[in-house]
């Protein structure tokens, strides 16, 4: 990699800073491209990096015309590839396209009714271009075609700002709002090097403010959708607006903050959720189960049956999850107290909402609770119970002075597309195979829609149905007792 290494301290401070900045940029951006696999690691990255450096060196040559002699000496003294760059100056300076895009630019597409559009000379917004395409299927290819039409239409790209604003607005309709290539192509619409400030007065006075604002809005839409820009974006921005413009600052901010916040979600949801409802149910149940030992069981796969009378019966999928500690709790549950099937509770995964149902019971009242003594042989590494009589200081209080909530144990969760009682009955029968106690315990169903929370013990049920069960006691109403806050069993599942 060639880079001009050491320059004597110029009084022309801007030049020196440009060089050193580019150096650090280059290193950081190449390294960053290694870290993020979504950027392209093929030749175009290196090409981008190279042409970025070439731009900066060209600017160096262009700016310091006074000290050309000094420059000549320096450039000769630096690496041998410098003369190559000087030689290729005219060839590489593309006015309207970035060198990185040059090789990849496709053959000019056919114009879509170019003549028809040109005949109409009235004042139209650039939405029209998109409207005309809207009659066909809106895809990425048609979007690219429209952009190509605009690019080919006028060498000076008259009205490119309005066109870019219109394109940004239409992107969600064409389904390309998360596509970085499309954003780079849209950024390519700007004419290059026209808006780059050439002296300090231009730099001071917000050179070409409308175009800078347009560039910032484009980057802001990218930021809105969470798309990380790549090296090509940077090269384009440098060519269009220079290194000190507002779009470049915005790009730098994106590149600073996005990597910091990319992986801070402790419960990450993939961008592409599984399409299959059973897989989606499996993913979300393992997410909410909070236990790595939990096992997912598919009780029924989705299918459509056609009965003799020709009716279509759609059987929904039933996916349930239960962990060994939940099974243990259910086994310890006394058969005289009922269990509840509650739902549907919402669970949001990015933009989709799925619903799950819960099998739970009320917390045991304090008189019925049995404190099982710790089995000292359960863990031989350290004692589970210490009978020390030490006082704890203020500085050693590690828990909050808050009453523990005891909402009762949760025994299992399930997800299904159709949440009526018949389907949930099927789930309970499926659970019964592993938890025989469900055969004796009365099960009540509380299936209400609306903002849901686990119902507490001191509640009257509004709409519940019984599950037909050989249960000796079937109570219509819950005993309404005001539970005093008390210590929970401390079971951590």
């Amino acid at each position: 990699m060639f880079c001009p290494m050491v320059l004597p301290a110029f009084h022309h401070g801007g030049v020196y800073r440009v060089i050193s900045e580019g150096d650090s940029f280059l290193r950081t951006f190449v390294s960053r491209n290694v870290l993020f696999p979504e950027s392209r690691r093929d030749g175009s990255t290196m090409k981008c990096a190279r042409c970025l450096l070439q731009l900066q060196c060209l600017r160096l040559v262009g700016q310091s015309a006074r000290s050309a002699a000094q420059h000549g000496a320096l450039l000769r003294s630096t690496s041998s590839s410098q003369p190559d760059m000087l030689h290729n100056t005219q060839v590489l300076r593309r006015f309207h396209g970035s060198p990185a895009c040059a090789k990849r630019r496709p053959v000019p597409a056919e114009f879509i009714n170019e003549d028809d559009k040109k005949r109409d000379k009235s004042l139209v917004t650039h939405d029209d271009l998109f409207e005309q395409v809207a009659k066909e299927v809106k895809t990425k290819a048609t979007f690219n075609k429209v952009v190509d039409v605009f690019i080919k239409r006028d060498i000076r790209r008259r009205g490119h700002v309005e066109f870019i604003y219109a394109a940004l607005k239409k992107m969600p309709e064409f389904g390309v709002e998360r596509d970085l290539v499309v954003y780079n192509k849209l950024l390519d619409v700007f004419p290059k090097e026209v808006f780059v400030p050439r002296n300090f007065i231009q730099r001071m006075f917000n050179h070409y403010p409308r175009q800078q604002e347009c560039g910032v809005q484009l980057l802001e839409q990218m930021e809105n959708y969470g798309i990380m820009p790549n090296m090509e974006t940077k090269v384009l921005l440098v060519q269009i607006f220079g290194e000190k413009g507002h779009p470049m600052r915005k790009y730098q901010r994106i590149m600073y903050w996005f990597p910091k916040f990319k992986h801070i979600n402790p419960f990450p949801v993939p961008q592409q959720l599984p399409e299959d409802p059973v897989d989606l149910a499996r993913f979300s149940l393992t997410r909410i189960a909070n236990d790595l030992d939990a096992k997912v069981t598919v009780y029924q796969l989705p299918s459509t049956d056609i009965t003799e009378s020709g009716e279509q019966i759609i059987l929904p999928h039933i996916v349930g999850i239960q962990s060994p500690s939940q099974m243990q709790l259910l086994a310890q549950h006394s058969p005289s107290r009922p269990v509840f099937v509650e739902g549907p509770f919402p669970l949001w995964l990015r933009k989709t909402c799925v619903y799950y149902y819960v099998l739970r019971a009320d917390p045991t009242p304090p008189d019925e609770k049995v404190e099982e003594p710790f089995d000292p042989e359960r863990c031989l590494a350290f004692p589970l119970q210490l009978d020390l009589d030490l006082d704890r200081d203020f500085g050693d209080e590690e828990s909050f002075d808050v009453e523990d909530l005891d909402e009762g144990p949760v025994f299992a969760m399930c997800m299904t597309s159709q949440g009526d009682q018949a389907v949930l009955n099927q789930w309970i029968s499926g659970l019964q195979q592993n938890n025989p106690i469900l055969g004796q315990v009365p099960t009540l169903f509380r299936l209400d829609a609306g903002p849901r929370e686990l119902q507490g013990p001191a509640d009257t049920e509004s709409a519940h149905q019984h599950r037909t069960d050989p249960g000796p006691q079937r109570e219509e109403r819950q005993p309404e007792e005001d539970e005093e806050p008390r210590r929970s069993q401390g079971a951590k599942w």
Binding site: E213, Q252, R287, S399, V402, P451, E453, L454
Partner: protein, 305 residues
């Protein structure tokens, strides 16, 4: 150089929260129909509305009705303040103040605890999200629920919309003087929440000196897992980054804990639909294992010039 003023308020991150005072409609509280702001909160002009042309004394209520109740309440507060001084700093014995490791700030154990919170949504700027706050079923937690809708209001100015927030009220001493929380002996925020899988944002507003800093808020994300189990969330204060009106700033500095005014929770994740968040308690704790002072760079300007 600075761009000309862009009159497009972005409310993607939590923007400046302008909260209504709320009437307590038992059992749930919801934002008022009309805007009522305390004098200390400053003026808010809803985008798209013309400026109200009133003399400054006209909105003030000169009646006597609030006078007598107010005098009793404030004198009681004043007496409490004087007597608290004899016990120790902030009403706690000094040993407890110095050595305590955990402090519960807000817990929802009765309807009066809901009075410490204000809810607000983008209906203030003309959007269509709804938000309500009520006590949980067993009177031990609070439930913040509602519907998010990200269609922006058609006033020509606003481009993004769809947010709901809950913010604590500024603690007030006697005669409505502002009081601040002092969390300088703690370094972690501890919450017990049960969400529905949506990502929330926690905002902490501190006392500032200059009026430009009025909308400076320290933010961090609160990712909920969803599900029937409660989630303990511990966020060290060193992770909070500063934003102004929802825009993250270049010059970052750590959150100063000695004069904290309010804490709030915002939802603005652009997913339209119902949401809910249950909060058991909000507390601060001192984590001796956490030695980080600040998570973001302060020694270099970003972006580098």
């Amino acid at each position: 150089m600075s761009l000309p003023k862009i009159s497009l308020p972005s409310v993607r991150l939590l923007s400046s929260i302008h909260h209504h005072q709320q009437q307590l409609l038992l059992p749930s509280t919801s934002p008022l129909t009309g805007p009522k702001r305390a004098v200390s909160q400053g003026e808010y002009r809803r985008p798209g509305q013309p400026k109200v042309d009133k003399f400054p004394w006209q909105p003030i209520n000169f009646g006597f009705s609030k006078g007598f109740d107010g005098v009793k309440k404030h004198l009681a507060l004043l007496k409490k303040e004087f007597s608290d001084r004899w016990v120790g700093p902030q009403g706690k014995p000094i040993l407890e103040h110095m050595l305590e490791q955990n402090q519960v700030l807000w817990e929802f154990r009765g309807p009066e605890s809901l009075e410490q919170w204000t809810v607000s949504s983008d209906q203030e700027i003309g959007g269509q999200s709804e938000v309500h706050l009520k006590l949980g079923k067993n009177q031990n937690t609070c439930l913040l629920y509602g519907t998010l809708s990200s269609t922006p209001p058609r006033d020509g100015e606003t481009r993004y919309s769809g947010y709901c927030t809950m913010r604590s009220k500024q603690p007030l001493a006697s005669f409505d003087r502002k009081k601040h929380y002092d969390w300088s002996s703690f370094n972690t925020l501890h919450l017990r929440v049960r969400g529905d899988g949506r990502p929330w944002m926690i905002n902490i507003a501190t006392e500032t000196y200059f009026s430009h800093q009025k909308d400076d808020i320290y933010n961090y994300f609160l990712y909920t897992r969803g599900g029937p189990y409660w989630q303990d969330v511990k966020i060290p204060f060193s992770k909070f980054f500063i934003t102004h009106r929802g825009r993250i700033q270049d010059d970052q500095h750590p959150l100063w804990l000695d004069k904290v005014n309010t804490i709030g929770f915002t939802l603005g994740d652009k997913a339209d639909g119902p949401f809910q968040l249950e909060i058991d308690f909000v507390g601060v704790c001192k984590d001796y294992a956490h030695t980080e002072e600040f998570a973001y760079e302060v020694y270099k300007r970003n972006p580098e010039i």
